[in-house]
């Protein structure tokens, strides 16, 4: 699985307006819902489900990244959206550091293996120092998309 297969490029937010975790999550679900026509669900409901999961255990796993996620029947394939913040967001991360890149992932409720594969793809790439640095330095959506495509290419090598 590649990042480009999961991330909805059109919904990427190069500079998040929100400064708080919950409003960042809503900003991301709202952006995603504008580009993907999910049935039977609105951005608020999706954000609430993600926040509920986030409250159980933070997905801020350190190194300035967080991967809030939820399994939801609004999707049949994993779909992710990426938001960047130059100021950093408090995600109650494991290392207590602010988060600069947020990958929000929605996975199908009925296919846990797909969820694991999507998480593997995201973490495999976030593990790369270069990828995290490029995301932080990105000046706009095109830069982010390029960073994602480069990361996918380097995973194939």
């Amino acid at each position: 699985m590649k990042l480009a297969d999961i991330v909805c490029f059109d919904a990427i937010i190069p500079q998040l307006e929100s400064k708080e975790r919950d409003s960042v999550i809503f900003e991301l679900t709202e952006s995603l819902c504008k580009k993907k026509k999910f049935k039977k669900v609105n951005p608020k409901a999706l954000a609430d489900a993600v926040i509920k999961r986030e409250n159980e255990a933070s997905t801020g796993i350190g190194k300035g990244v967080a991967v809030p996620h939820v399994k939801h029947d609004a999707v049949t394939e994993p779909v992710a959206v990426l938001g960047c913040s130059s100021e950093g967001i408090d995600f109650s991360s494991l290392d207590k550091q602010p988060v600069y890149s947020v990958f929000l992932l929605l996975s199908p409720l009925s296919d846990p293996d797909k969820h694991l594969q999507a998480m593997e793809t995201i973490f495999k790439n976030l593990q790369k120092d270069d990828f995290r640095r490029f995301l932080r330095q990105a000046q706009g959506r095109d830069d982010i998309i390029e960073a994602i495509k480069d990361a996918d290419d380097s995973s194939l090598e």
């Binding site: 489900a49 509920k52 999961r53 159980e56 255990a57 997905t59 796993i61 350190g62 190194k63 991967v67 996620h69 939820v70 399994k71 939801h72 494991l94 996975s107 409720l109 846990p112 293996d113 969820h115 694991l116 594969q117 998480m119 593997e120 973490f123 495999k124 976030l126 593990q127």
Partner: protein, 103 residues
Amino acid sequence: MSKLTYETEVEVKNPEGVHMRPAMLFVDLANTFASDITVSNGDISIDAKSIMQMTMLAATHGTRLKIHAEGPDAQEAVKSLGALVDNRFIINGDSATVSGKEG
């Protein structure tokens, strides 16, 4: 002093696989040991003390994991971590995977 090395192989039995919360339980437990611990799924071998790396295993239901430890408490580490996987990541009745909806 000779280095103690232990290894065990376990199968992931919970239907959801090793998603983030069970992975976190595993990493937390691994970090209570002084030994160096790695987990392998046959393709890749990763550091059991890193949540990022644990998530990279994408260990689905039925995946066989090899847990390898080297160090003073290697035997205890392998035993405890193997039991956690074997017990479907349930500690004291709390499961990381019981809620059907959230990953």
